[in-house]
Symmetry: C2
Subunit: 337 residues, 2 copies
Amino acid sequence: MGVTLKDVAELAGVSRSAVSRTFTQGASVSPKTRRKVERAAAKLGYQPNALASSLTTGRTKLVGLIADNFHNPIFLQVFDLFTRGLQERGLRPLLVNLSEERDPEASLRMLRQYSVDGVIVASSTLPPTFPRAFRDAGVPVVHSFGRFSSMPEVHVVGIDNVECGRMAARALIARGHRHIGFLGGPATASSTQDRYRGFGEVVAGDPALRVDVTYAAAYSFEAGRAEMARELARGPAEAYFCGDDVLSIGALSAVQSAGLTVPDDLGIVGLNDMEMAGWQNIDLTTIHQPVRQIIDTSIDVVVSLLDDAGRLPEARLFPCRLVERGTLKPPSDRTDR
Amino acid sequence: MGVTLKDVAELAGVSRSAVSRTFTQGASVSPKTRRKVERAAAKLGYQPNALASSLTTGRTKLVGLIADNFHNPIFLQVFDLFTRGLQERGLRPLLVNLSEERDPEASLRMLRQYSVDGVIVASSTLPPTFPRAFRDAGVPVVHSFGRFSSMPEVHVVGIDNVECGRMAARALIARGHRHIGFLGGPATASSTQDRYRGFGEVVAGDPALRVDVTYAAAYSFEAGRAEMARELARGPAEAYFCGDDVLSIGALSAVQSAGLTVPDDLGIVGLNDMEMAGWQNIDLTTIHQPVRQIIDTSIDVVVSLLDDAGRLPEARLFPCRLVERGTLKPPSDRTDR
DNA sequence: TGAGTCTTTGCAACCGGTTGCATTCCAAGG
DNA sequence: CCTTGGAATGCAACCGGTTGCAAAGACTCA
């Protein structure tokens, strides 16, 4: 069914090696042979079989892209950037959906069967044991949106979640709020834990503050709505730092349903600054996460690992910044800092 | 680096064929050999190389998943369902992002190089020439969310967009609106054209109606917002059928920014019923598109094509239904139908 | 025990490429 | 005109599997 090297070689009247060489960068072929081969290949509509060549070269140009949250709109952007970035570098993303997977080993096995050149784990909720499994199997791996560590076990690209937590706490305090809330993502997620740590640090210094802490079940709209509804029933704080934007939007929805006004009755600051956060009917004040940079860097790292698999794991962090929109009052006059 | 068939064979003290056979469904191996092989394989951590075997079997279990819109949240759900569905059937999605691609030939070539077993084109905006190119290349292809035709050139799974257009028009009329609008997606998309056709059909019968027609530049929030802003400046209709949900939400945003109330000042009905449409702070009245069924069916079709590539192309349509939420007034008393 | 049948097994060729090595070709230099 | 050396080419082995085929083994039944 497919046209093979042999067919082209026969038509061009050269050896199979010659054909192979004309399609290989930097191999030595005379212009004459090259021309003959190219003509024959064009006539037959020949496409080299990438899989067959991977057998000898050991390179498939396949990259596993692993995600575990398909309910957070930020991931649409993440997929867009990853797929485009990988394509531009001649790599192909093999998408793995881990959202209902109980056994990460299964996807590890699968990706090994397809001998992917590398793996990108795009998740802030997967435990580090997961990317580590790839490293242990000798597969280059980078954990995007993963947890910072000064001695990371695998390459990590992301943000300083602790600092984001601080930034959020300071923002709430600067608005004059004294009763503030931390409405985190899943308590088991490292991102949640780190953000809480930073938040807690700042808050700990001020005995005048009252702080509520709760955790949503997932980084999703529903979880945010449910958790905020619970808070409202319990008697809410004046303003909340929510785990991320989609959680914030869920919370926002609960607040509005309760007939309260944002930001006057209750303020919210999110994290991510995903596309939707800027939509006028959402208009979320949030901490911007430089998704594009994180993804570009992740790809660069995985590409560099293709040549130098043994490189020592590094953690790269990108700075975040507060984006002021409509869900948090402007800073109060009492200039706390 | 990798453990191969040979290694296992040597450790188990059998031939390579024996090892291959224990890993192949339905091959004849004695329980004794199988046990030996399995033990050896486990000890070495052997993983059969799927790519190498694809060379002889002609099956890669790779399926190209092609999308061209990464700004519409519905696609997150689409990716979720496709990846899960494919994984469950032992197939691997090779994701292709066509959003900035000028040359579809390039992705065709690429997917052929990876000898994908089949291709799913998930888009209502790509022209039929695109999936046709795969068919012509002998690659099984199904066009999800594609245009209906009684004599389709490739397998199509989707909805009856013409009927959706009718449904929307009837819904607007039933609410007592006499000045109604069609705010479509890109005019070049077949989905837009078909929806307009149905809409036009219903509307044509009633000379008392006044109808505005405009098209947004894309199925995206921004395009919907911009187009509705233009309508508002021009003097809007009483209620609109918007191309899809994300367009509707953009339009909604423009309406709210203009200080108008929905649905009293202006009504909106969308299409898709994506997850977000049900979020309480959006609460969009919309036509439900059975995404899950479409995707499950698409996968079934592509799987069946793996065994019987020559099957005649069919178009499968699924019925849609109106989901009443808060962006369209309840039907008026004058019971038009 | 032996014939007949069915199952298991290994050999070797093959899938579609790549690549080390030896050979041939060609042009420049003496 | 003959060397000499680099470039171009083909041969054949190899990548990691699968599979048709023939031989060997196991089992049934007489």
